[in-house]
Amino acid sequence: MKQELQLKLQAYLDGELPDGEARPVAGLLAQDAEARALLAELKNTRAALAGFEADIKLPESREFYWSKIEREIERQSAMIEPERKFASPFASFRRILAPVCAIAILVIVGLVAIRQVDFSDRRGLEVKAEFVDGGALTYRDHTQGLTLVWLPYPAESEAALTDTDDIL
């Protein structure tokens, strides 16, 4: 007998075959003595096993068996308790920590943004008169790396000399 058919017979016994497949197997059983014999063997084995576990009894007394379970439960509870005690204040601290951190981050970001605007304003619009010649003007834009120098032409000092020459 093919293995596939053997497994089908077993599935038939276990009620695992869909109706469509169970009917042909039932038909085969009516005609095939070997299939019937195999099914009978499987049934006998099943019958022999039925109720087998009911006779197995725990070889320990109720008190002794329970005492070991109780001890283990207590031991594990004792291990969990300190963890809970430790975890409990930390957990409440964590609950407060999250919103506080969020607010702090927002404040910091806000301050940095304000400072940056303020800073860039100051750095970007720097106007200086650095030369001895009071007519020169320097414009520095740090953000763009730009420096502009205005020199009056003719220079005020030269103009002054010219004026003196004219007088002389």
Binding site: L42, L49, A54, I56, K57, E70, E72
Partner: protein, 197 residues
């Protein structure tokens, strides 16, 4: 632990009380179901000491997870599934410790059981209950762990093929083949075709 007498309460009331922390109620549940839980562990492990340890571990786990028990099945069924899972984990550890190459080869080739003659008479007919129990006990011990597990989950736990496949982490086809060879070998052993070594 309370001194309250729980012996007359039903399982549901005991579970409710235990869920509220009543150890006395839980102890009563242990007393009621301990034989069944131990028997299942013993059927799977075939070792008294290991079965006691695993059944006790199952009770400790049950106490820890008691609040998760919603009563969809009976308490006994819930407990049995816990001990089965623990036994399966233990068997997996056993398997890792030693390669089951012969068993794997048997499954692939069909094994000797496939070619054995069919046992035509009921080998257990007329046997005394004690004798029958002893024979089954011996026969179960001679099965490989994988074959025995398939038999236990199907015959004793009444699981469907797909449930067994999930529990044993294998295909339904493998379950069917393991179950078939296990049953055939059991039949042969019970009929003394194969003398226990």
């Amino acid at each position: 632990m309370t001194d309250k007498d729980h012996s007359s309460a039903d399982d549901k009331s005991l579970v409710r009380a235990a869920q509220k922390g009543d150890m006395g109620a839980f102890e009563e549940l242990v007393a009621r179901h301990r034989d069944k839980i131990y028997a299942r562990a013993y059927s799977m492990m075939r070792n008294e000491e290991e079965a006691i340890d695993l059944s006790q571990e199952a009770w400790v786990k049950a106490w820890q997870r008691l609040k998760q028990f919603q009563g969809e099945s009976s308490f006994g069924t819930w407990m049995t599934r816990i001990v089965i899972n623990l036994c399966l984990d233990q068997l997996r550890r056993h398997k890792r410790q030693r390669a089951e190459s012969i068993e794997a080869m048997d499954e692939e080739s069909g094994g000797v059981e496939r070619h054995m003659p069919v046992v035509t008479v009921n080998p257990t007919e007329g046997l005394e209950r004690i004798e029958l129990r002893q024979r089954i006990d011996q026969a179960l011990s001679q099965l490989s762990e994988a074959h025995r597990t398939a038999i236990v989950l199907c015959e004793f736990e009444g699981m469907e093929y797909k449930e067994i496949a999930k529990a044993m982490e294998c295909s339904i086809g493998t379950v069917m083949s393991r179950l078939f060879y296990a049953r055939r070998k059991m039949a042969a052993l019970l009929s003394d075709l194969k003398k226990p070594e």
